[in-house]
């Protein structure tokens, strides 16, 4: 369905959106035709979400006003300017003619209604269907988004479904009234890569079936390459470039698009390299791009010394679901018999999808979580034999950086206080003056200025806050930093800069990193060794080259093939994962089988496939 002659169904003309005096979208124009997918790409604050909310006229409720422009919606013989319609008229269009899928499938379903009721609601409302017909239609919709056991699912509640299943329910709901236009606002950002690949396939297939126009909003260039026909690149509220997907990727004209594309980590770009490498980063300096940093091989790991951290047969389980008399009936088997070492100056990446136990391992090492069994020793001292004083010392030598830089700083404390906190807690430096001097020095090291110490966290952008978190972690002179998805909440251009910062600091201080991530491309750039986790057990562990270039475990292979490739000409031969990752919750007494590992190359261990 790529007839270029067909007229656009939705066209945005010269749209400007303002919140108070702040103009967030400026003179934006684009059009989307039936059967085509238009991707709107941009980083946080580029105004892409406001654009989609304006089309739905949902931005009105957030206090937006439309300074100029028109949004022409022309299905069949109608000719509406959506900006001139009343909210009452819009209600008939929303959900019926234009449907929307949101980013967070966890919060966009109402927890107290069954799936069936929620899908049927819009059918009864817009199509005036009787209840029994609506139910049958709901089942058909669930089948259409390839959910197994659709009949049974109708009577389930949202919390009984996984994230991927919920997002499919959201798509089913959006498609309930056969909309002419589907707006998908970052629909896969909160999902695992294998699930993301499934959802993208479903959206693409359904679009062909129904001949819809899709507006796909995303920050992920990999996803754009997978799904889009046309691309609009937005930057600071303006459209900077527009074209077909092949054109944009092959010949990006605007400097911002070039920067954006160069910052995207590409899986496989480091094939053949033994060590991780720092690459120069192109950043926007005003309107012109400039290159920062130089290529540098990261040969910092000290394999000649004894390991800094060694984890042996670690088991962490949580009791859930108490029986009637308080007995435990189910457990989450978050971590099962995991063993690994980290050496000084080395980055070990823990890779896995949600529920694989990768965060639990980090939290157990940081003593935020008690281990059920197993040994951890740091610098040769086992945790088990440590006294209270030594355990507190560990809090100084091991630092944790959390995923969400917006949530990991106390909103009521100034940055200076937060950075000085580890110094004061462990009495590393005495005297207020000296502490302030050290805080200033740390701020400057991570690329901020000392004046920032007097500000509060909400005055900073995501990237700046993650820098603050890094400065805070550095404040206590740690030997090991656990970075738990520390880059996944950041825009790609910021991500590239933070990766370089991490690597520079590793070289300066001989830091070891336990890098917890689901993003294979970032892992490839940063890590010396990689451990792939599946359901709490190590599926594969080895050097980066071994695991990524010659994956031995089928799960690793599936994980690698699901990663979106930022190249529209790439034709994938993808081993799609059917269904979901099994749940790590098990009945008491029903212990999972412990996998045996084979060494297929020196240092490269692969678990037996099950």
């Amino acid at each position: 369905m790529t007839d270029a002659v067909s007229t656009p169904i939705l066209s945005v003309e010269d749209l400007s959106v303002e919140f108070g005096d702040t103009r967030v979208v400026e003179n934006l124009s684009f059009a989307v035709k039936p059967g085509r997918t238009l991707a709107i790409v941009g980083e946080s604050g580029s105004g892409k979400s406001v654009t989609s909310m304006s089309i739905m006229r949902l931005a009105d409720m957030m206090g937006a006003s439309y300074a100029s422009g028109a949004i022409r919606f022309t299905p069949d013989d109608r000719k509406d300017d959506l900006l001139t319609l009343t909210q009452k008229q819009m209600r008939n269009i929303r959900g019926k003619d234009i449907a929307m899928i949101f980013q967070e499938p966890m919060t966009s379903l109402n927890p107290v209604f069954t799936i069936g009721d929620q899908i049927a609601e819009s059918l009864i409302l817009h199509e005036g269907m009787p209840k029994s017909d609506a139910r049958a239609e709901s089942k058909r919709l669930l089948d259409m988004v390839r959910l197994p056991d659709a009949q049974e699912l109708l009577d389930r509640y949202p919390h009984q479904l996984s994230g991927g299943m919920r997002q499919r329910v959201m798509i089913a709901m959006a498609l309930a009234c056969r909309p002419k236009v589907l707006i998908a606002d970052e629909p896969t950002t909160a999902l695992d890569v294998t699930i993301q690949a499934q959802i993208l396939t479903i959206i693409r297939d359904l679009q062909k079936e129904l001949g819809m126009a899709v507006i796909f909003i995303t920050h992920d260039m990999g996803v754009v390459a997978e799904i889009a026909d046309d691309v609009v690149v937005m930057w600071k509220g303006k459209k900077v470039e527009e074209g077909t997907v092949a054109d944009i990727f092959a010949h990006p004209a605007h400097p911002y698009t070039q920067t954006l594309l160069s910052a995207v980590p590409k899986l496989g770009s480091m094939t053949g390299e033994v060590f991780p490498k720092r690459f120069p980063v192109t950043v926007m300096d005003g309107e012109t791009p400039c290159v920062v940093g130089a290529e540098h091989i990261q040969n910092t790991a000290r394999y000649d010394e004894a390991p800094l951290l060694s984890v042996r047969d670690l088991v962490t389980r949580f009791d859930i679901k108490k029986g009637l008399f308080g007995g435990v009936s189910h457990r989450v088997h978050a971590v099962e018999n995991v063993s690994f070492d980290i050496y000084r100056g080395e980055t070990l990446a823990l890779v896995g999808e949600s529920g694989s136990g990768k965060s639990t391992i980090g939290r157990t090492i940081q003593q935020l979580q008690k281990a059920t069994a197993g040994n951890i020793s740091f610098d040769g001292r086992p945790f088990a034999t440590m006294g209270k004083v030594e355990q507190r010392r560990l809090c100084q030598e091991i630092q944790y950086i959390f995923q969400d830089p917006f949530a990991s700083l106390d909103p009521r404390k100034k940055i200076g206080f937060s950075i000085a906190e580890p110094i004061r807690t462990h009495r590393l430096i005495e005297g207020d003056k000296q502490i302030t001097a050290r805080v200033d020095q740390l701020l400057e090291r991570v690329g901020l200025i000392s004046a920032h110490a007097d500000r509060y966290p909400h005055e900073f952008s995501g990237g700046q806050r993650q820098r603050i978190c890094i400065a805070r972690a550095l404040a206590s002179n740690p030997k090991l930093i656990i970075a738990d998805e520390a880059l996944s909440a950041l825009d790609v251009s910021i991500q590239a800069q933070i990766i370089n910062l991490f690597m520079e600091l590793q070289e300066e201080h001989g830091l070891a990193y336990l890098f917890i991530s689901h993003d294979m491309a970032v892992v490839e750039k940063m890590s010396h060794r990689v451990a792939v986790l599946y359901l709490g057990q190590v599926a594969e562990i080895g050097t980066r080259q071994q695991v990524l270039e010659t994956p031995g475990h089928p799960y690793t292979q599936r994980l690698l093939s699901a990663v979106p490739v930022a190249d529209p000409t790439f034709v994938r031969d993808r081993v799609l994962m059917d269904g979901e990752i099994p749940s790590p919750i098990r009945r008491v007494g029903d212990e999972p089988a412990i996998l045996a590992h084979r060494e297929i190359a020196p240092g490269h261990f692969v678990a037996d496939a099950r």
């Binding site: 919140f19 108070g20 005096d21 702040t22 967030v24 940081q366 935020l368 507190r392 560990l394 809090c395 100084q396 630092q399 944790y400 959390f402 995923q403 969400d404 949530a407 990991s408 700083l409 106390d410 909103p411 009521r412 404390k413 906190e421 580890p422 807690t425 462990h426 509060y456 909400h458 978190c469 805070r472 206590s476």
Partner: protein
């Protein structure tokens, strides 16, 4: 993404709120504290010849007189001593105990949480009057005992409120990251948790001050409070009720005193809550 103009307007409103609140509260406190100097012996002086004089009619009795010929203005001003002491001290005591209990039981969970919360449930199940009668019967009436009674019956509210907030905050990443750094529990409780949950506590405090001023009068009315001869706002309000049809001023002026005090405290509380929040997002 608020525009600069609305922000400026909001800041101006916040300043006004502070000035009004400070003037009201400060003015009333000043009058009450120096009541003996302003009206020496005026509150008790009985002049049956000047019973129920209307307000604004005579320069000696601007607010009029009560059924015993006592000056209403003098009584309102000196009655504030009891009312403000009860209102402020009982709330302060309940906040200190309630907040600490709530912080500890919410943060540590487990055994102590269960003990404290079941104790709180039992307390909430007891009707206030029953508790008051039992307590006063055992330890006797008087100002101090009444304040203790109010503290005992109200700390639970704060404990519940604080515990609820702690439960949602303790798993937030900034608390987790403070723990990961090795910050001592006492600092996590008072430097990180407390500032983040103080907003609703301040609101509840300002509401309870008014509530307790009135409770004092009902207790006094039941003979469980202070000596009924000592004037207090709640007591005067209750006394004047019988004369409301022909001498409204006897109860309206103490009522106004309560209203202005509570208004002043509410404005101050609101300002305090917002100025403690650096993001300035609480109210819009």
């Amino acid at each position: 993404m608020a525009a600069t103009t609305t922000k400026a307007r909001f800041a101006r409103y916040k300043n006004l709120e502070f000035i009004l609140g400070a003037v009201l509260t400060g003015g009333i406190c000043f009058l009450v504290v120096f009541s003996d100097l302003l009206f020496p012996g005026g509150a008790e002086k009985i002049d049956l010849a000047a019973r129920l004089m209307a307000p604004f009619a005579h320069a000696d009795h601007i607010f009029g007189t009560d059924p015993l010929g006592r000056d209403v203005l003098a009584r309102v001003v000196s009655g504030g001593k009891i009312s403000l002491q009860v209102g402020v001290l009982s709330v302060a005591g309940a906040v200190v105990i309630g907040v600490i209990m709530g912080l500890v039981s919410g943060y540590y969970r487990g055994f102590w949480d269960m003990i404290v919360m079941r104790f709180a449930d039992v307390q909430l199940a007891l009707p206030f009057i029953l508790l008051a009668i039992t307590f006063i019967a055992i330890v006797g009436g008087g100002l101090t005992n009444m304040i203790i009674l109010l503290i005992i019956s109200q700390w639970v509210q704060y404990a519940r409120l604080v515990r609820g907030s702690v439960l949602s905050l303790r798993d937030r990443e900034f608390i987790q990251s403070a723990k990961a750094i090795g910050v001592r529990d006492i600092h996590i409780l008072f430097r990180h948790l407390l500032p983040n949950l103080i907003g609703p506590v301040i609101v509840l405090m300002t509401l309870n001050v008014a509530n307790n001023i009135l409770l004092e009068s009902s207790l006094t009315f039941l003979g469980l409070g202070v000596d009924p001869l000592i004037p207090s706002w709640g007591g005067m309000l209750a006394d004047g009720r019988t004369y409301l049809q022909n001498a409204w001023w006897v109860s309206v002026f103490p009522g106004l005193a309560i209203l202005l005090t509570v208004l002043g405290l509410n404005l101050l509380g609101d300002w305090l809550r917002d100025s403690l929040d650096p993001t300035g997002r609480t109210s819009k």
